[in-house]
């Protein structure tokens, strides 16, 4: 689920941080720059693991801040295809399920990757949501929001940033995970 990535970045350190020890100031800047942000094809940055080297410290003319070239490692969240992950149900509608990991919400299970055969029923409690039920050997297994759901990662995609978005559409998701429940041992933990 998690990988280390080695990144080199040229960093500008604002003058108001000059009283801090260099390591801390650079770590703080890196965190505000990268933490909780998605880097294309690398994944979601979780944390700064360590700083390998700090170079430079030049002050360019006309600028009050010093510039450093830093080499560091980041802990990235990037599940590989075929990985099994346990997540909680967030929303369920006619197009499929949306699962959430707490720190990452854009996990979708489309209809064609649900266990076969299954059908959906309108949820009596919540009008905009439906409950998906798996019909297996004449027994019904509903997917309710009670326990955790295990799914297999089918693909991880990074849609390009849209230039214009119509109002009131879903906020843009820079990283989307497509998952599948269509296999033995997948689905809510209580089924197995």
């Amino acid at each position: 689920m998690f990988f280390l990535s080695l990144i080199e970045h040229t960093l500008r350190l604002p003058p108001h941080l000059l009283d801090l020890p260099l390591n801390e100031a650079i770590k703080g800047e890196l965190e505000s720059l990268f933490l909780d942000k998605v880097i294309a094809n690398l994944g979601l940055c979780i944390s700064v693991y360590d700083i390998r080297s700090i170079d430079g410290g030049f002050v360019f003319p006309g600028d009050g801040a010093s510039t450093y070239t830093v080499e560091f490692r980041l802990v990235m969240f990037r599940p590989f295809v075929g990985e099994i992950i346990t997540a909680k149900l967030k929303e369920s509608d006619a197009n499929g399920l949306q699962l959430s990991l707490g720190f990452f919400d854009d996990i979708y299970i489309p209809v064609h990757l649900m266990p076969n055969p299954c059908h959906c029923e309108p949820d009596p409690e919540n009008k905009s949501q439906v409950i998906w039920i798996w019909d297996y050997q004449e027994q019904k297994f509903p997917i309710d929001g009670l326990d955790e759901i295990r799914f297999q990662v089918q693909s991880v995609s990074y849609p390009p940033i849209p230039v214009e978005q119509p109002k009131e559409s879903k906020p843009f998701a820079p990283m989307m995970i497509m998952g599948s429940l269509d296999y033995d041992g997948l689905g809510p933990v209580s089924w197995w």
């Binding site: 933490l35 909780d36 297999q152 033995d184 041992g185």
Partner: protein, 151 residues
């Protein structure tokens, strides 16, 4: 920004949890003082409820040693450490073509995983108390046979 190495090594859930703990993450109210960002806390909360929360470095090393004879791919071992499967049906999506490649070995693998890695809190709560008695006896036998073979 230059990406020097996109993949400088895979991390198990336990290693990320250990790293966050070493920086001061915890469940209790001291979290406001710890130098950990809110987004990192969300990761910590997720990991603490998964199978990684009671693992130790030694138990993972032990599991790696014992998995060598099954000839599993690195991704499969990573999945096993993160999920801690407790039955053959849970192994099925993790190991491709498990019946062809391992056949009977699946049962041995499950038993080895359940004895080496401690169970996650959710598995312990859901009525595992009855089985716990049997597992304890099995633990004793396993460690006895392991010591016997070492001697």
């Amino acid at each position: 920004m230059k990406i020097k190495k996109a993949n400088a090594g895979a991390l198990t859930n336990f290693e990320v949890l250990d790293f966050l703990r070493s920086r001061g993450a915890a469940k209790d109210p001291t979290r406001v003082i710890a130098p950990i960002a809110a987004s990192e806390f969300k990761v910590y909360d997720y990991l603490v409820e998964s199978a990684a929360c009671n693992q130790t470095r030694e138990s993972i090393n032990e599991l790696l040693d014992k998995c060598k004879k099954y000839d599993l791919a690195k991704a499969e071992i990573l999945n096993i450490i993160n999920i801690r499967p407790a039955s053959p049906v849970e192994i099925d999506p993790i190991i491709e073509e498990s019946e062809k490649r391992m056949g009977e070995g699946i049962e041995d693998l499950i038993e080895m995983v359940t004895t080496v890695l401690p169970p996650p809190p959710t598995q312990m709560n859901t009525g595992e108390e009855v089985v716990a008695g049997d597992e304890e006896i099995a633990d004793g036998e396993q460690t006895a046979t392991a010591m016997a073979t070492e001697n």
